[in-house]
Amino acid sequence: MTTTHDVHTPSFMTGDEFNIPTFRLLQQDGSLFEGAEAPELDEEKALKIYRAMLVTRVLDERMMAAQRQGRLSFYMQCTGEEAAVIGATAALDDADMIMAQYREQGALVYRGFSYDEFMNQLFGNELDYGKGRQMPIHYGSRKLHYMTISSPLATQIPQATGYAYGQKLAGEGHCTITFFGEGAASEGDFHAALNMASVHKVPVIFFCRNNGYAISTPASEQFAADGIAPRAFGYRMHVIRVDGNDVLAVYRATQDARKIAVEMNQPVLIEAMTYRLAAHSSSDDPSGYRSRKEEEAWREKDPILRMQRWLIDLGWWSEEQEKELQDSLRREVLETMKRAEKRPPPPLESLVTDVYADVTPALQRQLDALKTHIRKHPDAYPKGASSLDPGVQAPGSDHKSSDEQGGA
């Protein structure tokens, strides 16, 4: 069962006997570390990555502002972690499955989720693929192989193991990546997922964004060990720790991880060391549990700036391009936001559809009763009434919505 040698005096180990290094390529000034080699990345792809990082940042800034203005009920930023999320996504095949936690909108941006698609979800309007059922930031896209976000933490991790097992049987050479925070990694589901992936030789990449906090709980109160990485040893799983603010290192590590997953059918754990620069969410105020100084120190390590400098050094990007892009992105966000806000809510029927493949008789009865009730008190239920009364409902909006689904 075990292949180890005997000893005759008791010796305890703690894991401090060995070190897990951090893989880094890019310094904050945009130059490579001595001895470091940039991954193969042509200008087009590098700029695609960079643009996705910038789009994500701008989207986050604008939407957080919109939330503060009361236009949006809730928001969560990826800010500070764009390199980790987008670097990893760029290293995958676009048809690989992504099962994310909630702070990974960058992955969607990279794969081409449009501003409109973001906004429809954020405002839960009739075009939201999720039909206005989940809180803002719970995106999903079938065409982009991005599993709809679910709030309960870590549940997606064993699901990723299962999804990837199915991919292995299908034999089309795809893998699944699952993103999660160092906090979520405390859940029992994490342990189950890694163990099953190892035992069943599953092509799945477990990507931990170790951003130092789970809401207010610092990593030091989340676990006593040197990060998440050493947990891989418990499952004899390939593991690498990477500087999560270093897009080149993340890209390269994920490329290699994908090879291990797809070619050897073995799971890999990646721990990306990064920092949640913003508040946990629009409901949070970090000043209660961490210092400005700490935040400032990490702001210095901004992953976008780091990549920008590298691109400028290479001559692939310029300050003018930067300014122009930022301006146009801001404009675009605002325009799409205005569009999305104005769209009607999903139809009343959406309350009972998709509970099952078909609406059950009991649910149909409940819907009918609700319709009768709302017809009695239309003013009390403006959203529900709007889809009941053809005068209020945008003509054909119902149909449009299901049309749009085709592109989900």
Partner: protein, 325 residues
């Protein structure tokens, strides 16, 4: 027609489903080489290979998490939980994930392919943790279907339906019937409808309703009642969620009386839901209060299991009381 016990019928259903569709996978604790602690998955690994029928590590939340992912991917997982008493570590994956997968994604993704099988119920001297009947927990969870078969024929037909159903199904197998219940079962593929109750006996004085292993108990009680001159209509609910209100309503409109029995504790058990619905829909037709004959509001005992269980005598007495009301 061959005679099978319930385990053989279940094994046969799994065999047919796996033979027909290579996307069907069976897994769980000890289901591989050993064929499951009750042997419901016997020989499936031999026939379909280790990739499609296998042991999992001992972690129910992982089994169902894994199964949810597989189903979302398009596979058709049939996950076994070794005892229904051990389904609770997977409760979050079932209640927050399985049940809400389609709804929350606006049908972009679903886990409709998933079937969760678990041996369930008492009567085998299993004490607290090998006897529970947790159907009511799942019946309060929109998005799930919950099915309990009463004999081998039903087990095969309902399990095949469950596996092919577009929605996730929790399939509870009354384990005390595994070997005890034997009957004729067609060798070929067939399905029985999910969501439809079955009137197994017509009668005029009272409707007696149950599911799973209670159906045998009901039959014994009804035999006594009929001898005492009481004509009973008997209904096997079969699907706990969604449940077939109309069949029950129709029966109660005729008999004017209803008795519901289950092994689970009374408070919050599914009989309460049925009683609440039926008193509403049949209010003016009820001639006596709807009776519930259930387990006590306690954990499941051992030495005094017989005293705890809602047996035929308790049902018989309740039938008499209802008719005499």
């Amino acid at each position: 027609m061959p005679r099978m016990n319930m385990l053989q019928a279940i094994n046969n259903a799994l065999d047919i489903a796996m033979a027909e569709d290579e996307k069907v996978l069976c897994f769980g604790e000890d289901v591989g080489v050993f064929g499951g602690v009750f042997r419901a998955t016997s020989h499936l690994q031999e026939k379909y290979g280790r990739n499609r029928c296998f042991n999992t590590p001992l972690v129910e939340q992982g089994i169902i998490g894994f199964a949810n992912g597989l189903a979302a991917q398009g596979s058709v997982p049939v996950a076994e939980i070794q005892f229904a008493d051990y389904i609770f570590p997977a409760f979050d994956q079932i209640v927050n994930e399985t049940a809400k997968f389609r709804f929350r994604s606006g049908d972009l993704f679903n886990v409709g392919g998933l079937t969760i099988r678990a041996p369930y119920g008492g009567g085998i001297s299993g004490g607290l943790y090998h006897s529970q009947s947790p159907e009511a927990y799942f019946a309060h969870t929109p998005g799930l279907k919950v099915v309990v078969p009463r004999n081998p024929y039903q087990a095969k037909g309902l399990l095949l339906s469950a596996i092919r159903d577009p929605d996730p199904v929790v399939f509870f197998e009354p384990k005390r019937l595994y070997r005890a219940s034997v009957g004729e079962v067609p060798e070929e593929d067939y399905q029985l409808p999910i969501g439809e109750a079955e009137v197994t006996k017509e009668g005029s004085d009272i409707t007696v309703l149950g599911w799973g292993a209670q159906m045998e108990v009901i039959d014994k009680a009804v035999e006594l009642a009929e001898k005492a001159g009481i004509s009973c209509e008997v209904i096997d609910l079969r699907s706990i969620l969604p449940w077939d209100e109309d069949t029950v309503v129709e029966s109660v409109l005729k008999t004017g009386r209803l008795l519901i029995t289950h092994e689970a504790p009374r408070t919050g058990g599914f009989a309460g839901e049925i009683a609440a619905t039926i008193q509403e829909r049949c209010f003016l037709y009820l001639e006596s209060p709807i009776e519930r004959v259930t387990g006590l509001d306690t954990p499941f005992p051992l030495t005094l299991e017989k005293e705890y269980l809602p047996d035929h005598l308790k049902i018989f007495e309740a039938i008499k009381a209802s008719v005499a009301f």
